[in-house]
């Protein structure tokens, strides 16, 4: 299945891209997907260990890391917001 990951703020700047499209095994949950990303690039470890960062699946904040992912899901990785 395909998962889009969206980057913002300093993460977008550091990675120098707005998004990635990952092709992963079906039946992954968010926790599995985290491990997958960390394995791909150690940078994600920093992201997942930073408790100021929030994660959204399809525009809904993740409350339980065991949430199942589905084909076409969009993961948003959000550093602290500074709008207004």
């Amino acid at each position: 299945m395909k998962i889009t990951v969206k980057y913002f703020s300093w993460i977008r700047v550091k990675l120098n891209k707005h998004e990635d499209l990952f092709e992963v095994n079906d039946k992954l949950n968010f926790q599995d997907f985290k491990s997958y990303l960390i394995q791909k690039d150690n940078f994600y470890l920093e992201v997942f260990n930073d408790d100021s960062i929030k994660f959204f699946i399809n525009f809904k904040e993740i409350e339980n890391e065991e949430i199942k992912l589905h084909d076409g899901d969009e993961l948003g990785i959000l550093p602290p917001v500074t709008g207004g």
């Binding site: 969206k6 913002f8 703020s9 300093w10 977008r12 700047v13 100021s52 959204f56 525009f59 948003g76 959000l78 550093p79 602290p80 917001v81 500074t82 709008g83 207004g84």
Partner: protein, 152 residues
């Protein structure tokens, strides 16, 4: 009305959109690009506003709906700019309209306080081709706590 826009807007147009004989009090908040964001002796004349649009719209709608419900507002408008914004120009505008001023004023403050910590926007200072992230303020998080028992 919730809008994310990439150019400046007229306040009177937005004011017209909420005009109603039910209104006795309208509170409008405008957030602008302030020059003391730029205190590092760098030649800067703008900020850049990044946004996760689909999420931000949803978050602004949630904030608006909470405000309308809690203060029985007649209307609530939120306009947020994105992209390059020049020094002195508008970043955000919030209108809350009500029969009475207490409700219009209180809800307006609630909306800007929530927006500051809950909506997917990010600010950068721009100098030439370079840009630098503007850090989140701890005070904003503290300010939002005061609404915890007021809006449930």
């Amino acid at each position: 009305m919730i809008r994310i826009v990439d150019s400046d807007f007229h306040i009177d147009d937005l004011y017209s959109s909420i005009k109603s004989n039910k209104n006795g009090a309208i509170s409008i908040f405008v957030g602008t690009v302030r020059d003391d964001l730029f205190n590092e002796n760098q030649i800067i004349d703008s900020i850049f506003l990044e946004c996760y649009e689909d999420l931000a719209i949803k978050q602004l709608e949630e904030i608006r709906d909470l405000a309308i419900k809690r203060w029985k507002l007649n209307d609530c408008v939120i306009i947020h700019r994105v992209g390059k914004i020049l020094l002195g120009d508008k970043i955000v505008l919030i209108i809350t309209s009500s029969s009475h001023r207490e409700e219009a004023l209180r809800s307006n403050e609630f909306v800007i306080d929530q927006l500051k910590i809950k909506a997917a926007f990010w600010k950068f200072k721009e100098f030439g081709k370079d840009s630098k992230i503007i850090e989140a303020k701890k005070e904003d998080r503290k300010k939002s706590l005061k609404w915890k028992d007021i809006v449930k």
